[in-house]
Protein backbone atom coordinates (compact mmCIF):
# COMPACT_ATOMS: atom_id res chain seq x y z
CA UNK A 1 0.00 0.00 0.00
CA UNK A 2 1.42 3.32 -1.06
CA UNK A 3 0.53 6.63 0.55
CA UNK A 4 -1.03 8.94 -2.04
CA UNK A 5 1.04 12.09 -1.85
CA UNK A 6 -0.37 13.87 -4.88
CA UNK A 7 -3.00 15.94 -3.08
CA UNK A 8 -0.95 16.75 -0.02
CA UNK A 9 0.72 19.99 0.94
CA UNK A 10 4.49 19.96 1.28
CA UNK A 11 5.67 19.40 4.87
CA UNK A 12 7.46 22.75 4.82
CA UNK A 13 4.30 24.67 3.98
CA UNK A 14 2.30 22.85 6.67
CA UNK A 15 5.03 23.36 9.26
CA UNK A 16 5.38 27.10 8.65
CA UNK A 17 1.60 27.60 8.76
CA UNK A 18 1.36 25.77 12.10
CA UNK A 19 4.09 27.97 13.57
CA UNK A 20 2.26 31.13 12.46
CA UNK A 21 -0.94 29.77 14.01
CA UNK A 22 0.93 29.09 17.28
CA UNK A 23 2.27 32.61 17.49
CA UNK A 24 -1.09 34.18 16.60
CA UNK A 25 -2.98 32.10 19.15
CA UNK A 26 -0.51 33.04 21.88
CA UNK A 27 -1.57 36.66 21.71
CA UNK A 28 -5.28 35.94 21.52
CA UNK A 29 -5.13 33.42 24.38
CA UNK A 30 -3.26 35.97 26.47
CA UNK A 31 -5.99 38.51 25.80
CA UNK A 32 -9.10 36.40 26.36
CA UNK A 33 -8.09 33.56 28.66
CA UNK A 34 -5.27 35.08 30.68
CA UNK A 35 -2.94 32.30 29.68
CA UNK A 36 0.59 32.64 28.40
CA UNK A 37 1.05 29.69 26.12
CA UNK A 38 -0.35 28.79 22.69
CA UNK A 39 -3.10 26.36 21.85
CA UNK A 40 -3.20 22.76 22.98
CA UNK A 41 -5.66 19.90 22.65
CA UNK A 42 -5.57 17.87 25.86
CA UNK A 43 -7.61 20.29 27.97
CA UNK A 44 -10.40 20.01 25.38
CA UNK A 45 -10.63 16.28 26.09
CA UNK A 46 -10.37 17.18 29.78
CA UNK A 47 -13.47 19.34 29.37
CA UNK A 48 -15.40 16.28 28.14
CA UNK A 49 -14.01 14.19 31.04
CA UNK A 50 -15.06 16.88 33.50
CA UNK A 51 -18.57 16.93 32.04
CA UNK A 52 -19.00 13.18 32.58
CA UNK A 53 -17.09 13.21 35.86
CA UNK A 54 -19.35 15.86 37.35
CA UNK A 55 -22.57 14.42 35.99
CA UNK A 56 -22.16 10.72 36.64
CA UNK A 57 -19.37 10.20 39.12
CA UNK A 58 -19.97 13.18 41.41
CA UNK A 59 -16.37 14.30 41.21
CA UNK A 60 -17.13 17.96 41.82
CA UNK A 61 -14.31 18.36 44.31
CA UNK A 62 -11.69 16.42 42.36
CA UNK A 63 -8.83 18.85 41.53
CA UNK A 64 -8.39 17.57 37.95
CA UNK A 65 -12.13 17.75 37.20
CA UNK A 66 -12.33 21.17 38.83
CA UNK A 67 -9.44 22.47 36.75
CA UNK A 68 -10.95 21.26 33.48
CA UNK A 69 -14.46 22.47 34.24
CA UNK A 70 -13.58 25.89 35.61
CA UNK A 71 -10.62 27.22 33.64
CA UNK A 72 -11.58 29.09 30.45
CA UNK A 73 -8.78 27.48 28.41
CA UNK A 74 -10.38 24.03 28.72
CA UNK A 75 -13.66 25.47 27.45
CA UNK A 76 -11.83 27.07 24.49
CA UNK A 77 -9.90 23.89 23.73
CA UNK A 78 -13.17 21.94 23.66
CA UNK A 79 -14.20 24.20 20.78
CA UNK A 80 -10.76 23.77 19.22
CA UNK A 81 -11.59 20.05 19.17
CA UNK A 82 -14.88 20.71 17.37
CA UNK A 83 -13.06 23.07 15.00
CA UNK A 84 -10.53 20.32 14.25
CA UNK A 85 -13.33 17.97 13.21
CA UNK A 86 -14.83 20.60 10.88
CA UNK A 87 -11.38 21.53 9.53
CA UNK A 88 -10.53 17.90 8.79
CA UNK A 89 -13.90 17.44 7.10
CA UNK A 90 -13.55 20.58 4.97
CA UNK A 91 -9.95 19.87 3.91
CA UNK A 92 -10.71 16.27 2.96
CA UNK A 93 -13.89 17.23 1.06
CA UNK A 94 -12.15 20.03 -0.84
CA UNK A 95 -9.23 17.86 -1.89
CA UNK A 96 -11.34 14.80 -2.60
CA UNK A 97 -9.66 12.66 0.04
CA UNK A 98 -12.74 12.25 2.25
CA UNK A 99 -12.83 8.50 2.82
CA UNK A 100 -15.14 6.99 5.41
CA UNK A 101 -13.79 3.78 6.91
CA UNK A 102 -14.32 1.64 9.98
CA UNK A 103 -10.73 0.67 10.61
CA UNK A 104 -7.43 1.64 8.90
CA UNK A 105 -6.70 -0.32 5.70
CA UNK A 106 -3.11 -1.00 6.75
CA UNK A 107 -4.29 -2.47 10.05
CA UNK A 108 -6.76 -4.67 8.15
CA UNK A 109 -4.00 -5.96 5.86
CA UNK A 110 -1.75 -7.02 8.74
CA UNK A 111 -4.12 -7.77 11.59
CA UNK A 112 -7.29 -8.99 9.89
CA UNK A 113 -10.71 -7.63 9.10
CA UNK A 114 -12.15 -8.05 12.61
CA UNK A 115 -13.65 -4.71 13.61
CA UNK A 116 -14.14 -5.90 17.21
CA UNK A 117 -10.45 -6.73 17.52
CA UNK A 118 -9.37 -3.31 16.22
CA UNK A 119 -11.93 -1.53 18.42
CA UNK A 120 -10.50 -3.34 21.43
CA UNK A 121 -7.07 -1.92 20.58
CA UNK A 122 -8.62 1.52 19.95
CA UNK A 123 -10.24 1.57 23.41
CA UNK A 124 -7.06 0.45 25.17
CA UNK A 125 -4.87 2.78 23.10
CA UNK A 126 -7.04 5.83 23.59
CA UNK A 127 -7.35 5.33 27.37
CA UNK A 128 -3.54 5.19 27.54
CA UNK A 129 -3.36 8.25 25.29
CA UNK A 130 -5.67 10.27 27.54
CA UNK A 131 -4.06 9.13 30.79
CA UNK A 132 -0.56 9.78 29.45
CA UNK A 133 -1.42 13.21 28.06
CA UNK A 134 -2.94 14.26 31.38
CA UNK A 135 0.07 13.03 33.37
CA UNK A 136 2.61 14.49 30.92
CA UNK A 137 0.77 17.82 30.87
CA UNK A 138 0.05 17.85 27.15
CA UNK A 139 -0.06 15.83 23.94
CA UNK A 140 1.92 16.08 20.72
CA UNK A 141 0.59 19.59 20.14
CA UNK A 142 1.31 20.97 23.62
CA UNK A 143 4.54 19.14 24.33
CA UNK A 144 6.19 18.98 20.89
CA UNK A 145 4.74 21.66 18.58
CA UNK A 146 4.69 24.15 21.45
CA UNK A 147 6.91 22.67 24.17
CA UNK A 148 9.87 21.85 21.94
CA UNK A 149 9.61 25.31 20.39
CA UNK A 150 9.95 26.73 23.90
CA UNK A 151 12.81 24.33 24.62
CA UNK A 152 11.04 23.45 27.89
CA UNK A 153 12.90 20.73 29.75
CA UNK A 154 9.63 19.07 30.71
CA UNK A 155 8.42 18.98 27.11
CA UNK A 156 11.74 17.75 25.73
CA UNK A 157 11.52 14.74 28.09
CA UNK A 158 7.80 14.21 27.40
CA UNK A 159 8.19 14.40 23.60
CA UNK A 160 11.22 12.08 23.60
CA UNK A 161 9.19 9.61 25.69
CA UNK A 162 6.31 9.77 23.17
CA UNK A 163 8.69 8.71 20.42
CA UNK A 164 10.54 6.08 22.48
CA UNK A 165 7.36 4.27 23.54
CA UNK A 166 5.70 4.78 20.13
CA UNK A 167 8.67 3.30 18.28
CA UNK A 168 8.71 0.21 20.52
CA UNK A 169 4.91 -0.27 20.27
CA UNK A 170 4.90 0.06 16.49
CA UNK A 171 7.71 -2.52 16.20
CA UNK A 172 5.65 -4.96 18.28
CA UNK A 173 2.58 -4.39 16.08
CA UNK A 174 4.49 -4.54 12.78
CA UNK A 175 7.56 -6.69 13.54
CA UNK A 176 8.32 -7.81 9.99
CA UNK A 177 8.43 -4.31 8.54
CA UNK A 178 11.00 -3.16 11.03
CA UNK A 179 13.59 -5.72 9.96
CA UNK A 180 13.24 -5.91 6.21
CA UNK A 181 14.59 -3.30 3.88
CA UNK A 182 12.57 -4.27 0.83
CA UNK A 183 10.21 -1.35 1.27
CA UNK A 184 10.27 -0.41 -2.38
Amino acid sequence: MKVDNSKEWHWFKGGILVSLLSVATYFIFAAIADRNYPFGITAGFGYISAFFGKTFAGLNENPVIKRFSEKPDAFIEFFILIGLVIGGYTASKLSGTYSPENIPAVWEKYHGKSVIKRYFFVVVGSILLGYGAALAGGCTTGNILQGWAHLSLGSIVAGASFFAAGIITSKILYPKLGDSDDAN
Binding site: V18, A30, F45, I65, F79, I80, H150, G159
Partner: protein, 180 residues
Protein backbone atom coordinates in the same frame (compact mmCIF):
# COMPACT_ATOMS: atom_id res chain seq x y z
CA UNK B 1 -16.83 36.95 26.42
CA UNK B 2 -18.27 33.46 26.16
CA UNK B 3 -19.06 33.90 22.48
CA UNK B 4 -15.54 35.17 21.73
CA UNK B 5 -14.09 32.08 23.43
CA UNK B 6 -16.29 29.76 21.38
CA UNK B 7 -15.54 31.53 18.10
CA UNK B 8 -11.81 31.69 18.79
CA UNK B 9 -11.73 27.97 19.61
CA UNK B 10 -13.67 27.03 16.49
CA UNK B 11 -11.50 29.17 14.20
CA UNK B 12 -8.17 27.96 15.64
CA UNK B 13 -9.35 24.34 15.54
CA UNK B 14 -10.62 24.73 11.98
CA UNK B 15 -7.33 26.16 10.70
CA UNK B 16 -5.26 23.59 12.59
CA UNK B 17 -7.44 20.68 11.41
CA UNK B 18 -7.35 21.98 7.85
CA UNK B 19 -3.53 22.12 7.90
CA UNK B 20 -3.19 18.67 9.51
CA UNK B 21 -5.49 16.96 7.03
CA UNK B 22 -4.19 18.90 4.03
CA UNK B 23 -0.57 18.08 4.86
CA UNK B 24 -1.49 14.40 5.20
CA UNK B 25 -0.15 13.98 8.71
CA UNK B 26 -3.46 12.51 9.92
CA UNK B 27 -2.95 9.35 7.86
CA UNK B 28 -2.54 6.10 9.76
CA UNK B 29 0.25 4.79 7.48
CA UNK B 30 2.16 8.06 7.88
CA UNK B 31 2.03 8.00 11.70
CA UNK B 32 2.93 4.31 11.85
CA UNK B 33 5.54 4.87 9.14
CA UNK B 34 7.18 7.53 11.27
CA UNK B 35 7.20 5.36 14.41
CA UNK B 36 8.66 2.51 12.35
CA UNK B 37 11.32 4.98 11.14
CA UNK B 38 10.31 4.49 7.50
CA UNK B 39 8.34 7.66 6.63
CA UNK B 40 9.56 10.99 7.94
CA UNK B 41 7.05 13.45 6.50
CA UNK B 42 5.44 14.04 9.92
CA UNK B 43 8.82 14.47 11.61
CA UNK B 44 9.87 17.03 8.98
CA UNK B 45 6.53 18.83 9.35
CA UNK B 46 6.83 18.94 13.15
CA UNK B 47 10.45 20.03 13.24
CA UNK B 48 9.78 22.77 10.66
CA UNK B 49 6.98 24.09 12.88
CA UNK B 50 9.22 23.81 15.96
CA UNK B 51 12.17 25.69 14.41
CA UNK B 52 9.97 28.44 13.02
CA UNK B 53 7.91 28.93 16.21
CA UNK B 54 11.01 28.76 18.40
CA UNK B 55 12.71 31.60 16.55
CA UNK B 56 9.51 33.65 16.32
CA UNK B 57 8.68 33.18 20.02
CA UNK B 58 12.08 34.13 21.33
CA UNK B 59 12.48 37.04 18.88
CA UNK B 60 9.11 38.47 19.91
CA UNK B 61 10.14 37.80 23.51
CA UNK B 62 13.29 39.88 23.04
CA UNK B 63 11.11 42.72 21.81
CA UNK B 64 9.08 42.38 25.00
CA UNK B 65 5.92 41.38 23.14
CA UNK B 66 5.45 38.05 24.87
CA UNK B 67 6.86 35.88 27.62
CA UNK B 68 7.68 32.22 27.10
CA UNK B 69 6.92 30.13 30.19
CA UNK B 70 8.65 26.73 29.94
CA UNK B 71 7.02 23.56 31.27
CA UNK B 72 8.77 22.21 34.33
CA UNK B 73 10.24 18.74 34.51
CA UNK B 74 8.83 16.14 36.85
CA UNK B 75 8.65 12.31 36.73
CA UNK B 76 5.16 12.60 35.26
CA UNK B 77 6.63 13.95 32.03
CA UNK B 78 8.64 10.76 31.54
CA UNK B 79 6.05 8.26 32.81
CA UNK B 80 3.09 10.06 31.19
CA UNK B 81 5.10 10.41 27.99
CA UNK B 82 5.77 6.67 27.85
CA UNK B 83 2.09 5.87 28.48
CA UNK B 84 1.03 8.39 25.83
CA UNK B 85 3.54 7.01 23.32
CA UNK B 86 2.29 3.47 23.85
CA UNK B 87 -1.26 4.66 23.20
CA UNK B 88 -0.17 6.57 20.10
CA UNK B 89 1.62 3.47 18.77
CA UNK B 90 -1.49 1.34 19.28
CA UNK B 91 -3.87 3.92 17.77
CA UNK B 92 -1.74 5.31 14.95
CA UNK B 93 -2.67 8.91 15.73
CA UNK B 94 -2.60 11.44 18.58
CA UNK B 95 -5.36 13.62 20.11
CA UNK B 96 -5.20 16.45 17.53
CA UNK B 97 -5.04 14.22 14.47
CA UNK B 98 -7.75 12.03 16.02
CA UNK B 99 -10.22 14.91 15.94
CA UNK B 100 -9.31 15.78 12.35
CA UNK B 101 -9.74 12.09 11.44
CA UNK B 102 -13.31 12.16 12.74
CA UNK B 103 -13.95 14.88 10.17
CA UNK B 104 -12.37 12.72 7.48
CA UNK B 105 -14.99 10.06 8.16
CA UNK B 106 -12.87 7.60 10.15
CA UNK B 107 -15.45 6.06 12.46
CA UNK B 108 -13.10 4.47 14.99
CA UNK B 109 -11.75 7.91 15.90
CA UNK B 110 -15.12 8.68 17.57
CA UNK B 111 -14.59 5.72 19.90
CA UNK B 112 -11.03 6.93 20.49
CA UNK B 113 -12.33 10.39 21.44
CA UNK B 114 -14.42 8.97 24.27
CA UNK B 115 -11.60 6.60 25.22
CA UNK B 116 -9.22 9.55 25.56
CA UNK B 117 -11.72 11.43 27.73
CA UNK B 118 -12.13 8.25 29.82
CA UNK B 119 -8.34 8.07 30.21
CA UNK B 120 -8.32 11.59 31.66
CA UNK B 121 -11.22 10.68 33.95
CA UNK B 122 -9.22 7.70 35.25
CA UNK B 123 -6.31 10.08 35.75
CA UNK B 124 -8.58 12.31 37.83
CA UNK B 125 -9.58 9.32 39.98
CA UNK B 126 -5.95 8.38 40.60
CA UNK B 127 -4.65 11.92 41.08
CA UNK B 128 -3.82 11.58 44.81
CA UNK B 129 -1.25 8.75 44.62
CA UNK B 130 -0.05 9.94 41.20
CA UNK B 131 0.63 13.43 42.49
CA UNK B 132 2.56 12.10 45.47
CA UNK B 133 4.62 9.74 43.30
CA UNK B 134 5.22 11.48 39.98
CA UNK B 135 4.49 15.16 40.46
CA UNK B 136 6.04 15.95 43.82
CA UNK B 137 9.59 16.80 42.75
CA UNK B 138 9.81 19.52 40.15
CA UNK B 139 12.79 20.87 38.24
CA UNK B 140 12.58 24.32 36.66
CA UNK B 141 11.96 23.78 32.94
CA UNK B 142 13.94 26.82 31.81
CA UNK B 143 16.80 25.23 29.86
CA UNK B 144 18.82 28.47 29.63
CA UNK B 145 18.73 28.85 33.39
CA UNK B 146 19.72 25.22 33.87
CA UNK B 147 22.61 25.41 31.42
CA UNK B 148 23.61 28.89 32.51
CA UNK B 149 23.84 30.06 28.89
CA UNK B 150 22.55 33.02 26.92
CA UNK B 151 19.34 31.84 25.29
CA UNK B 152 20.49 32.38 21.70
CA UNK B 153 23.49 30.14 22.39
CA UNK B 154 20.95 27.36 22.92
CA UNK B 155 18.29 28.37 20.38
CA UNK B 156 20.62 28.67 17.39
CA UNK B 157 22.35 25.28 17.92
CA UNK B 158 18.91 23.70 18.50
CA UNK B 159 17.65 25.18 15.22
CA UNK B 160 20.75 23.90 13.42
CA UNK B 161 20.36 20.44 14.95
CA UNK B 162 16.67 20.21 13.97
CA UNK B 163 17.47 21.48 10.45
CA UNK B 164 20.23 18.90 10.12
CA UNK B 165 17.79 16.13 11.08
CA UNK B 166 15.30 17.39 8.48
CA UNK B 167 18.01 17.60 5.83
CA UNK B 168 19.33 14.12 6.61
CA UNK B 169 16.00 12.25 6.62
CA UNK B 170 14.77 14.24 3.62
CA UNK B 171 17.77 13.17 1.60
CA UNK B 172 17.59 9.57 2.70
CA UNK B 173 13.91 8.71 2.53
CA UNK B 174 11.22 9.72 0.03
CA UNK B 175 7.75 10.64 1.28
CA UNK B 176 6.27 8.39 -1.36
CA UNK B 177 7.93 5.15 -0.40
CA UNK B 178 5.87 1.99 -0.22
CA UNK B 179 6.06 0.71 3.34
CA UNK B 180 3.04 -1.42 4.09
Amino acid sequence: MMLINILFGLVVGFIFGFILTKTGVTKYPRVMGMLLLKDFKILKFMLTAVISSMILFYLLGDFGLLKVVPKNLEWGKLVGGLIFGTGMGILGYCPGTMAARIGEGKKEAIIALFGTALGILIYALTIKPVKATFLSTEINGNIFLQLGLNKWLVIIPAAILFSAIIYFVNKKVSDNKKIF
